[in-house]
């Protein structure tokens, strides 16, 4: 335990003061990255991204883009390899991880080229002019399928897609399973979701060739270990990568950690362009290629006694990190390693961990980081044990709890839980959460035939990560060779200026959490000042500020570690100021009191203004008392001694602090719509000492809303070909104020003995507890075992309405197409148009590029390659997606002037397609009847986000084609299959067509 000098009185800590951050943010005076001015001459970048989930890049032709006026540079793999290196991969395996695809794209949205231009509009214009030739490959999306012998391989050096496998045994799980009367298990496929901050990534990078140094401003949340990764990838030492962060950041929740490949990419772009380059990610880019939490396949089994006590757990986890093993992955899998027994005293544990690569966005930090995946399996298992053994779920939880008197408690896998009284917290939650009332409501609802359920979740929330936990992915031998990694250095600097006013600086890089307010409270208490007297700066500059590899905003480390470091720095300065005051007041050191902005020695009547004492080192250093060098600036570093490296027998103390949460959730499921409606949600938190109740409540309600989204609405999902299905905020559904219920928040305070202020992290807990608590409530309501997130109404329909019966008169089966690949969307159709013009005229027009250009909706240019081959540049809008495509069309089976087959393919940034159509012309009485049939397959973004509209859109576009053909031929159309006018208006509104 640390012995830490603390202020005698807490005047400000623990109070819900208004935040110092808010006035600026409420009046539009925030300093987010895109609000800050840039140097004159700064150019703007746009990124060309892969429209395929898996493809070889055969060639990139950027000549037309480079020739566009206003374009300064186009950066492709060649430039990135010339000036950069692969991002360091956390495992010693033969894979590389470049910030831009080198010769192969492995996920939809992976960067392929960067355009640097006068402004973003011109840069995006230029993206349309880059031609990339791809050879598409079969993609693998599912982690279990990725392990199959015949699965497509993402990284050839690796042979398969398994990046790492480790097995751990604690105690004697085999014996425990053999001896136990019950073995109860659960299988979980945990999906991907992301906390999607409302502000996206932003970077301004500059390269100084004279110093071979990069200067980067980014709304990153580090530096932490990633600074070293970026410097290496830019081929410079750390002191040649100056990283700065803006004063405000529009949320992160972990996500902005994954900006770092773009820091490298835009840094190289600035070097190539020879000028500063700014890039702000747009939302579509964010949803396809920022980062996301891992999806995980878990098989968990427990050895259980007849009373519900668990004697052993057996974990099998398949972690899917997406297309690359990008730093700090596979950390999501190991962040919870010490916590695999949750809140329970289980001494025998077997763990098998596998890390798998698939054709999806690379994963990274996301609020809860590893916790949601673990607790979903563990707490669903607790509910299953209760059901299978017919025991009250609360009793199963309570019987397995770590006894209250056993803290600090060492878990089987090595975590040292600092403090807690789970039994007391649970009892309070049941009493104040109104569990009996909820049970009565459930009884009443069920008596009326309604679907009502109650779920529980008990969760230990780790915070302040051990920098060494990720080395658990290595074997003890490998770890010994790599050198020890441990600790979690936090730092804070406090300065006193020439009038004695106080400035605090930390490297905690807040993203809305109110760090400045809390630090002003902590430091005001140390000096007997008011929080408004304290200025706090949280902008980071790695060239000038104190920071460590652990600095940054992650693992809920602020309250527990950084605020404590600030208190340590303040108390060191205070000790010096006390010595100065004692000399000035001619008093004893131990009598000095700091209060009310003054310093005295017991008699407030004879006191000195704080500023007078605090400025003494500036004005009269010669008069300082002996032993005081100065009291101008104090930087404290603090790392908890408890955070030791993983041991030779794989005990991993993954985090310093361990908060506790017990949630109760009551839901009602609508019998008609299958909507899950939360009737009440109770969340009991023990986050140690509460520094600012209002902010703790904000963290709880905010974390809950994220978890609600993950539980009921949000999924980052892919088609089997690797196309993204959740590419806009109209597809990736974030809860609004209408879906987010009010919470009943309760507290139980068990101060941490390991942290300076007794505080623990609190920001991530509900992301761990809430998804499974809601799932348990749904399981209780429907009496079902298998629940997969997100719990969409469609997934519950068969349990509420029964399995949909086969139609009595099934529609005739469609002819099976051979065209489409998995994941592509098939479009077929046929139609007829009558044009008042002779057949030959129509025929000629179909073969004339000039005529085609005025007929094809959205065509910019049609070029005749040969008599039977055309190239066309077309802009089409489908749903929210408007894009430019380059199409190659060839004519076959020509039977002039009667019939022709048009076939071809098209490719653009927004998707690809291929298909063919047969056109037949018949003439009668000067009128030509055109009949056509077509079959097409569409992939990429168009298929994913405009997918639901595609069929109708195709019909509209084809209709427009024939309308134009008729007009051009001088006649009128007639007889064409017409859409109802309302549909036409709807499609027009959605921008379908040119």
């Amino acid at each position: 335990m640390n012995v830490i000098d603390r202020p005698k009185t807490d005047n400000w800590i623990g109070k819900s003061l208004p935040r110092v951050e808010d006035a600026a943010l409420l009046t539009g005076r925030g300093r987010y990255i895109d609000d800050l001015g840039v140097k004159p001459g700064t150019a703007h970048a746009a990124i060309l991204r892969s429209p395929h989930g898996h493809a070889n890049i055969l060639g990139i032709d950027a000549a037309r883009a480079r020739a566009l006026p206003g374009v300064f540079a186009v950066i492709t793999a060649e430039e990135v390899q010339r000036y950069g290196s692969s991002l360091v991969v956390g495992l010693k395996i033969p894979v590389e991880c470049w910030p831009l695809a080198i010769d192969k794209v492995r996920y939809y949205g992976e960067p392929v080229a960067v355009v640097v231009a006068l402004d973003r509009y011109v840069a995006e214009d230029a993206l349309d002019l880059i031609a990339v030739r791809y050879e598409t490959l079969a993609a693998v999306i599912d982690p279990e399928e990725a392990l199959a012998d015949d699965a497509p391989v993402l990284h050839e050096g690796l042979k398969g897609n398994l990046a790492n496998e480790r097995r751990f045994t604690y105690g004697d799980p085999d014996a425990a399973f053999a001896a136990a009367p019950h073995r109860i298990g659960i299988d979980v496929k945990f999906p991907r979701s992301a906390c999607t901050p409302i502000e996206t990534y932003g970077i301004v990078a500059e390269y100084d060739p004279g110093a071979d140094a990069y200067d980067v401003l980014a709304n990153f949340q580090g530096p932490f270990s990633i600074h070293a990764v970026m410097a290496r990838a830019l081929n410079v030492p750390g002191n040649r990568l100056r990283l700065r962060t803006p004063g405000d950041s529009g949320g992160s929740f972990g996500i902005k950690q994954a900006i770092f490949p773009y820091v490298v990419l835009i840094g190289i772009a600035a070097r190539v362009a020879g000028r500063p380059v700014k890039w702000v990610e747009d939302r579509l880019e964010h949803l396809m290629a920022s980062t996301v939490a891992t999806n995980r396949v878990t098989t968990l089994a427990a050895a259980v006694e007849t009373d519900g006590r668990i004697t052993a757990l057996s974990w099998d986890q398949i972690e899917d990190t997406g297309a690359h093993l990008r730093a700090p992955e596979p950390a999501t899998l190991y962040r919870m390693h010490g916590n695999m027994t949750g809140a329970y005293a289980i001494r025998n544990v077997a763990i098998r961990n596998r890390v798998v690569l698939t054709n999806k966005m690379p994963t990274g930090l996301n609020r809860g980081f590893g916790g949601p995946q673990v607790y979903y399996a563990l707490e669903r298992l607790m509910q299953r044990i209760a059901v299978e053994l017919d025991i009250d779920p609360v009793d199963v939880i309570r019987r397995n709890f770590i006894p209250a008197g056993e803290f600090p408690y060492r878990t089987a896998s090595g975590a040292l839980y600092d403090s807690g009284d789970y039994q007391a917290a649970l009892a309070t939650a049941i009493a104040q959460g109104g569990l009996e009332e909820l049970k009565a409501r459930r009884d009443a609802a069920r008596a009326e035939g309604r679907l009502y359920g109650i779920g529980y979740a008990a969760v230990v929330e780790p915070s302040v990560s051990n920098m060494g936990y990720i080395t658990a992915v290595l074997t003890p031998d490998q770890r010994a060779k790599a050198g020890a990694k441990n600790g979690a250095q936090a730092t804070a600097t406090i300065s006193l200026d020439a009038v004695g006013s106080v400035t605090v600086h930390v490297a905690s890089v807040p993203q809305g959490q109110g760090h400045r307010t809390v630090l002003s409270q902590v430091v005001a208490d140390a000096f007997g000042l008011k929080p408004s007297d304290i200025a706090v700066a949280t902008e980071l500059d790695t060239a000038k500020d104190a920071w460590s590899i652990a600095s940054g905003n992650y693992s809920s480390r602020f309250a527990a570690a950084v605020a404590g470091a600030a208190q340590i720095a303040a108390m060191r300065l205070r000790a010096k100021l006390a010595a100065i005051a004692a000399k000035q007041l001619n008093a004893e050191l131990e009598d000095i009191v700091f209060a009310g902005g003054r310093v005295h020695a017991g008699d407030p009547a004879t006191s000195l203004a704080f500023g007078r004492v605090a400025s003494a080192s500036h004005w009269a250093p010669a008069d300082l008392p002996q032993g005081v060098d100065h009291a101008i600036r104090e930087t404290a570093f603090w790392t908890p001694p408890e955070l030791t490296a993983p041991t030779g027998d794989d005990l991993v103390n993954s985090s310093l602090c361990h908060g506790f949460i017990f949630d109760i959730c009551a839901v009602e499921i609508d019998r008609v719509t299958c909507e899950v409606k939360i009737d009440r949600y109770v969340t009991m938190h023990d986050c140690g000492k509460i520094l600012h109740p209002g902010m703790v409540e904000g963290q709880v309600t905010g974390g809950f809303a994220h978890a609600l989204g993950a539980a009921l609405y949000e999924e980052s999902s892919y088609a089997p070909d690797g196309g993204l299905l959740s590419g806009t905020l109209a597809d990736y559904l974030i809860p609004t104020i209408m879906e987010t219920p009010a919470l009943r928040i309760l507290h139980h305070e068990s101060p941490s003995p390991f942290t300076p202020l007794g505080a623990k992290g609190v920001g991530e807990g509900n992301c761990m507890s809430t998804p499974v608590c809601i799932a348990n409530a749904v399981a209780d309501a429907l009496g079902i075992a298998d629940i997969t997130l997100p719990i969409l109404p469609a997934k519950l329909a068969e349990h509420v309405h029964g399995i949909e019966p086969e139609p009595r008169n099934p529609p005739a089966p469609k002819a099976k197409s051979t065209m489409g690949k998995p994941g592509e969307r098939m479009l077929t159709g046929q139609g007829k148009a009558v044009v008042e013009a002779p057949r030959q005229k129509i025929w000629d027009m179909l073969l004339d590029p000039q005529a085609l250009m005025s007929i094809i909706p959205g065509a910019h240019g049609v070029e005749k390659v040969s008599d039977t081959e055309f190239r066309a540049d077309v802009t089409l809008g489908i749903g929210p997606v408007k894009g430019r495509y380059s199409a190659a069309i060839s004519l076959t089976d020509l039977n002039e002037p009667e019939s022709v087959t048009l076939s071809g393919g098209t490719e653009g940034a927004l998707g690809s397609g291929h298909g063919s159509g047969r056109v037949t012309l018949t003439e009668e009485a000067g009128k030509t009847t055109i009949t056509y049939t077509y079959e097409a397959a569409v992939g990429g973004k168009v298929a994913s986000i405009g997918g639901r509209l595609l069929d109708g859109a195709a019909r509209v576009v084809i209709g427009q084609f024939f309308d134009a053909l008729a007009r051009k031929a001088g006649g009128k159309t007639g007889g064409r299959i017409r859409l109802p006018a309302t549909f036409k208006r709807l499609f027009a509104m959605l921008g379908v067509g040119a």
Partner: protein, 183 residues
């Protein structure tokens, strides 16, 4: 409406928070980009640029609009109100609505906040007695990832109560026929 050439920049002039502003814009330039990068009014934020998140909400001639779905040239001659116009004195003092957000911790990172404020500003102007249900419906067009919304609705209701109590708007019984009063 005049026909604008796509390839040239046009002068656009309108009133922003009561003061005349002008700048140059291509016809395709979004109002959001124009406000932020031509005028320098960076309080209006961009969260999605496809009309879902609501962060860029502004008032154009009193009506609510997504600045990311409007073109700068469309606002020629209009009266535009943004978050910068909500404080009674340019930012030194907070308005009742802004103060309520501060008091009830209705913001964390603050990025989505301007949109919420602009919508509530219009709502309380047009419908001072809006019911909580109606307030929620209006705010359902805004995404916030930090707060979980509970503090936002608390702040909105507190602001409404203060506005009514201070007589910033007249009591419904005095001015409005009964059927117009929300529950």
């Amino acid at each position: 409406m005049p026909r604008l050439n796509a390839d040239t920049r046009h002068r656009v002039a309108f009133a922003l928070n009561g003061r005349p502003v002008s700048g140059q814009a291509e016809p395709r330039m979004l109002l959001s980009d124009f406000l932020r990068h031509e005028i320098g009014a960076t309080g209006t934020h961009l969260g999605c640029e496809h009309g879902v998140c609501g962060a860029c909400t502004v008032q154009i001639d009193g009506g609510l609009a997504r600045a990311c779905l409007a073109l700068a040239v469309q606002t020629e001659g209009a009266d535009v109100r943004t978050v910068e116009g909500l404080s009674p004195d340019g930012g030194a003092t907070l308005s009742i609505l802004q103060e309520a957000f501060r008091e009830h911790h209705g913001l964390q990172c603050g990025f989505c906040t301007p949109g919420f404020l602009v919508t509530l500003d219009a709502l309380f102007r047009d419908d001072p007695h809006a019911s909580e249900t109606h307030i929620r419906e209006m705010l359902s067009g805004h995404l916030c990832r930090c707060t979980g919304y509970a503090p936002i609705i608390k702040a909105a209701l507190a602001a409404q109560a203060t506005l009514l109590a201070r007589g910033a708007v007249a009591h419904p019984d005095d001015t409005m026929p009964e059927e117009d009063v929300h529950a």
